[in-house]
Symmetry: C2
Subunit: 343 residues, 2 copies
């Protein structure tokens, strides 16, 4: 590596012994230049480590190679995990991902979309806030920029939606719980930040009735994304009232369940599937920490890899074809039942 500093592509092209436009071609697609030329450039690249000015590049390209990744709440390991997958896929495909978190706030989501629009990205992978999204803003954005929605569906918005089949999640879990014990009651937030919650609740009700049982739903108070805390508080109230028709609780998601487990512990209840236990608790999501709770949490896990894989592929396809699908496409993945000792 030489110490010399290369100012621009002109200078670098001179070092290579090729013309600037050829170097430009190389950076846009190394395969588009002859092998000998490529070798020359790459040898020079090792000696001088030059990188095209990203601002100059993006200013002139009709479409940048940027991809926006937006999640509603990055401090949730679930989204952190998905974001990691997506980032990796984008890089592998030769794009430059930019990661954003709305931190659960509408005005931040709006700002992010604004920033993103001005970045002229090739496409965007967006997990919207959902219930607290500004629908018209998201809608307008999706019209302007090729966008794949994931995790949270907003009906009619975006070209593609990729997510999990929430009714399948609850149905599978209800069946399992009934089969191995008693029918569960359902524990959820009264005003959940995520729209999947509604579908899970509906799925629970349907599954229960199908099995010939009466559904029972308990709603915890609380706003925002501090789901564990909401679960703990709500759990305490629920356990204190002691009017549960069933000693089996299906929580709307794992983070609520983690809070609920904390409440059970505080109340001195033994949680688990075994005979000598007081209560069974199950969650939904396959949260990264669900295997380290005490007891380990029985849950239905998202197919993280499939969701991120499919989201990325769908976006790449849209970008390559340079036009949006005629009709909105939805792809839902089944979850996998993970039986642990909590239920």
């Amino acid at each position: 590596m030489s110490g010399e500093k290369i100012k621009n592509m002109e200078e670098f092209a001179a070092k290579c012994g090729v013309s600037r436009p050829t170097v430009s071609k190389y950076f846009n697609d190394p395969g588009s230049v002859r092998a000998k030329t490529r070798a020359r450039i790459e040898r020079a690249l090792e000696r001088f480590d030059y990188r095209p000015n990203i601002y100059a590049v993006n200013q002139n390209r009709r479409l940048t190679k940027n991809i926006g990744i937006v999640v509603p709440y990055l401090a949730d390991p679930f989204f952190a995990e998905i974001a990691r997958f997506l980032e990796t896929r984008c890089i592998a495909a030769g794009f430059s991902p930019s990661l954003f978190s709305s931190h659960g706030m509408q005005h931040l989501e709006n700002e992010i979309l604004d920033t993103l629009r001005s970045m002229k990205p090739a496409g965007v992978l967006l997990a919207p806030l959902g219930r607290s999204s500004d629908r018209s803003v998201v809608e307008q954005f999706c019209e302007d920029v090729p966008t794949v929605l994931f995790d949270s569906n907003i009906e009619g918005i975006g070209d593609v939606f990729v997510g999990s089949d929430n009714p399948q999640f609850t149905s599978m879990m209800v069946q399992y719980l009934c089969r191995t014990g008693e029918p569960p009651c359902f524990f959820e937030m009264k005003t959940p930040p995520n729209p999947n919650a509604r579908k899970r609740r509906q799925g629970y009700q349907d599954a229960m009735r199908q099995q010939g049982h009466e559904p029972h739903i308990f709603e915890a108070e609380g706003e925002g994304w501090a789901l564990e805390e909401v679960g703990r508080r709500g759990g305490m109230q629920l356990l204190e009232k002691d009017e549960m028709p069933s000693r089996t609780v299906l929580c709307s998601n794992d983070r609520l369940a983690i809070g609920f487990l904390a409440a059970c512990y505080e109340k001195g209840l033994r949680v688990g599937i075994e005979k000598d236990c007081d209560i069974r608790v199950a969650g939904l999501d396959g949260h990264p920490f669900s295997s380290f709770t005490c007891p380990p949490l029985t849950t239905v896990s998202h197919d993280y890899e499939a969701i991120s894989e499919r989201s990325a592929e769908a976006l790449f396809a849209m970008i390559e074809e340079e036009n949006r699908p005629a009709s909105r496409q939805e792809k839902l993945f089944d979850g996998k039942l993970i039986m642990r000792s909590s239920a």
Copy 2:
């Protein structure tokens, strides 16, 4: 909001009825134009919602308004939380933060620093991988770009380091554990990804000897950032051998402790400070989930806000003064003891 699309600053300036350079001045500092002119521009801004092309802007500015935020592992809620603070501070100060995660991998950290360098950021807030960082790469980067290191210190690198006083953490916890029961043994990873671990271990040894006790250290096998799993596995081994000289365990960090708690549960041990418990377990970090473990985890918490606040302020100062501090500055914050029922 008019439907008309503004192409560039020229057009927008025409709509305002002022010249383009004046509009440019406005965007660089709204206070630098006369009140009347500012009003004109802002009125037009409401009607046309124009935004300067970020690529064109950054190409010509000597220094961009971008700030890079790099963390070693975003799926760790600790870093997600810090990143959230930092992002907010940057935005409030008028900068554009870009968030990156090294995902625990050296080659990714190197790539990120490369990308960052080409973004010509005003400054960077960097929590390096630490033990697995490529020292020379990080060092070179810090020479090129104003950088504040946080969380993980790499001796002699960066203009400023902001972090926690690890010896104070362990010392405070050791004192507490001794005072309220028996002297703890120390549970850590044999090859921790984070350099803070070494200081904590040293702090443990010093504190124990100062209290007149012999330190006992147990090292769990395992590589990488799956700390809970390492803690669980190592915990199982430790508990099975049953050669612990003390029934009080201080874990090197909360994530290890969460894994250790899982191991205790699996072994049927009652964890807690109370008389009828089998074992006491404490952690270090104040992990966001530490209050939802069963039992809730006694720990020493980082002063998240102070660390992020100070990191951001230090960077902003460097940026404004346009020159680096003569000597490397270090600022360490004390942790806060959080007494819960696990120890």
